[in-house]
């Protein structure tokens, strides 16, 4: 090491090497790179004992010494309270952090001494060797730390080190970024393959469906290990997208393939519903409890316990489904069937419908259906009609997302924005409706499981009333939002969007 740093002497200094320190460092992030997206680096470092957890958020660093060894993955509530947790909470949201890379770090401080044997520059020699997910060759970084009042010496040493060319980077920089690069890990979510305008329609639909099948498969382990609620959410959305696309454009695929696997996705979607509904309830529970006016937040505790135990039962049932042969056959068979379509020679498809033409045809058809249903909604429409409209809007949204690559980008953004506004109002209406009904059901179950405190039932009554109010407000907003959506501007935008 001394030989490698010899140029730092710049013909006038001496080097004094400090003791060698060895430690392991684990860099953590959520599976969808939420910390990286916000410029936050979370690391766990240990030489002996449970170690230290450090968050570096764009230069502002906070550390906390752990009192016990951490378990990964961990959700935000499983991290120790304090500045580190506060520093990652917003970025993590409900997602868990897990190790991305792990490395062995050997470091030594080297003092550059002048003729008085005074330290005029400090060099931090750090040798990083990635150990997980794979072993890397040692990566050496030298960071130069100037000493106050010795700027000239720092310049001289930097110049000498740069001139020797052995150190590509001697500036401050992230060891994490270096490790990611060495491990060949790109810190971004992998986008599913996109369709293109001239693709045959069946290849385009199979491409999108193959992407959704990949999302389902990749989230299974996270659901089984109950890492965080978003693994199930992402899996469920991919199932819904699959079902919508099969419904709206499944006819371009080989009929035998659709017949054999199509119904499996309804079965799979239904199997995920109880756990997801309870997840949503539990995620909102603290906010709901804090919003009580007459009751105290603590009044809802027995209800919270009931939800948690119901959720555990539902999750176990879901885990059985995801471990079943039926599920394995569904996903593997479906992926293989779609792969057959994708591997077919495009030239065989000459003269057939293209992705572009299919998009135009199906989006127009779906828009017509949504508009017809939306026009029929009045302030007095039954909840079922609003619910059906909401489902059609979701299907249109999923379809628009699939055909995005063949649409005009600006018009696509505008249409999605319009649709999102309508969906938000429809969602609020639906949530109020469903939650006020399910509360009644939960109250009865609490009653039959023992003698819940009167305060709990009263607090649940207050919640129920607030859901009804929310639904009424949504019903009030709905006709206005629909009127805007049904106006000429939206129609024009949809025509601009299509090829």
């Amino acid at each position: 090491m001394l030989a490698a740093l010899a140029p730092a002497k710049a013909d006038r200094y001496e080097l004094a090497v400090g003791p060698r320190r060895t430690r392991t460092v684990t860099y953590l992030d959520t599976v969808d790179w939420r910390l990286h997206a916000k410029g936050i680096v979370l690391s766990h470092e240990r030489a002996s004992g449970p170690g230290t957890l450090t968050v570096d958020g764009r230069g502002e660093e906070n550390s906390t010494r752990l009192t016990e060894s951490p378990q990964w993955p961990a959700r935000v509530e499983q991290l120790p309270e304090g500045e580190v947790r506060d520093g990652v909470a917003a970025a993590m949201w409900v997602r868990a952090v897990a190790p991305v890379v792990r490395a062995r770090v050997v470091s030594r401080e080297v003092a550059v001494l002048d003729d008085e044997r005074k330290t005029v520059v400090r060099l931090d020699w750090v040798e990083l060797t990635g150990t997980e997910p794979s072993a890397t060759r040692p990566l050496v970084r030298v960071t130069l730390r100037p000493v106050l009042g010795y700027g000239g010496a720092a310049k001289r040493v930097r110049k000498a080190l740069e001139a020797c060319g052995d150190f590509a980077e001697i500036e401050d920089g992230g060891a994490y970024a270096t490790l990611l690069e060495a491990e060949g890990i790109a810190p971004e979510e992998s986008a599913p393959p996109a369709i293109s305008a001239d693709m045959p329609a069946d290849v385009a639909v199979a491409t999108a469906l193959h992407g959704f099948a990949g999302v389902i498969a990749v989230n299974v382990d996270g659901v089984l290990d109950d890492i965080d609620t978003e693994f199930l959410h992402d899996l469920r959305v991919a199932v819904r997208r699959t079902r919508s696309l099969l419904k709206l454009a499944g006819d371009v695929l080989p009929p035998e393939l659709v017949r054999r696997y199509g119904s499996g996705f309804k079965w799979l979607g239904d199997a995920t519903t109880p756990t997801r509904d309870l997840d949503v309830y539990l995620l909102e529970f603290d906010t709901l409890a804090a919003g009580l006016v007459a009751g105290e937040p603590g009044d809802l505790a027995p209800f919270g316990e009931l939800l948690a135990s119901e959720r555990e039962k539902a999750r176990r049932a879901l885990a059985r489904t995801l471990r079943s042969q039926r599920f394995t056959r569904l996903i593997e068979g479906w992926q293989a069937g779609l792969a057959d379509v994708l591997e077919r020679d495009w030239s065989e498809q000459d003269g057939r419908l293209t992705a572009e033409a299919l998009a135009a045809e199906r989006v127009r058809g779906m828009v017509a259906k949504v508009i017809k249903r939306a026009k029929a909604i009045t302030p007095d429409s039954p909840a079922e009609d609003v619910h059906r409209l909401r489902k059609r809007c979701k299907e249109l949204r999923y379809l628009l997302e699939v055909v995005k690559p063949v649409c005009d980008a600006t018009a696509h953004r505008a249409v999605i924005k319009d649709l999102k506004k309508v969906q938000d109002v429809l969602g609020a209406f639906q949530d109020g409706e469903v939650q006020s009904h399910s509360l009644r059901d939960y109250a009865e179950r609490l009653q039959s499981s023992g003698r819940p405190p009167a305060a709990t039932l009263l607090a649940m009554g207050e919640l129920s009333a607030s859901f009804v109010t929310m639904q009424r407000q949504a019903r009030h907003d709905l006709t206005g939002a629909l009127r805007k959506f049904l106006g000429p501007a939206t129609h024009e935008r949809i025509e601009d969007l299509l090829p």
């Binding site: 003092a111 008085e116 044997r117 005074k118 330290t119 000493v147 106050l148 009042g149 010795y150």
Partner: protein, 252 residues
Amino acid sequence: MKVVASYNVKGGVGKTTAAVNLAYLAAARGHRTVLWDLDPQGAATFLFRVKPRVKGGSTKLVGGARPVEAALKGTDFEGLDLLPADFTYRNMDLDLARSHSSGKRAGRALSGLLDELAGDYDLAFLDTPPSLSLVSENVLHAADLVLVPIIPTVLAARTFDQLADFVGTFEGDRPDVHGFFSMTDRRKALHRELIATLPGEREGVSSTSIPALAVIEQMAVRRAPLPAYAPSGPATRAYEQLWTDVEQILDL
């Protein structure tokens, strides 16, 4: 920022060793610390292995032509910086007097310069030259606490009284004056007697005693603060006791 001066009109009584070791202990305990070596002999500067040179010298520094920050040097110890000595400090009295003619109060000019550092440091230690001069008057006005090393002799106790009386004449803010025994030798009867009686007779004199030990003299050979090379010896423990006195007086 609190200002602590190590002061005695006499030389060779342990002012510099006290200032250097206390500044080191303060920084080691997490206080952002600066030590200003005001003595043109530059003993503290030498102990930190820094060259005794300030660009522009006393004249530009006192006159405000060069910012104080520009003269700072990082020491080899985390959180401890040094404002080095310069041989031109021998003329600092004249520069301070000149600053009076330019409208500033001659006795308060150093306070103004220290204010420039207030945002960057929690504590400033001043190592002062042995004299009664405009520099020492400035130091006494700038300080929140004046540490006075006392070699246990009758005359040294008189000097402490004179200093305490002088500070008592200040209008407005007055520093705490805190005497401690320095270079003590338990084999000497007079030392033992004064250490036992003086703290009870004089307000502001503590029984904290820095022994005359070779390990302290070695600071000049090793060119480092005592706790850096002898972290657990009796001499270091004595300076740690003195640091505890400082913490209590300044409520740190």
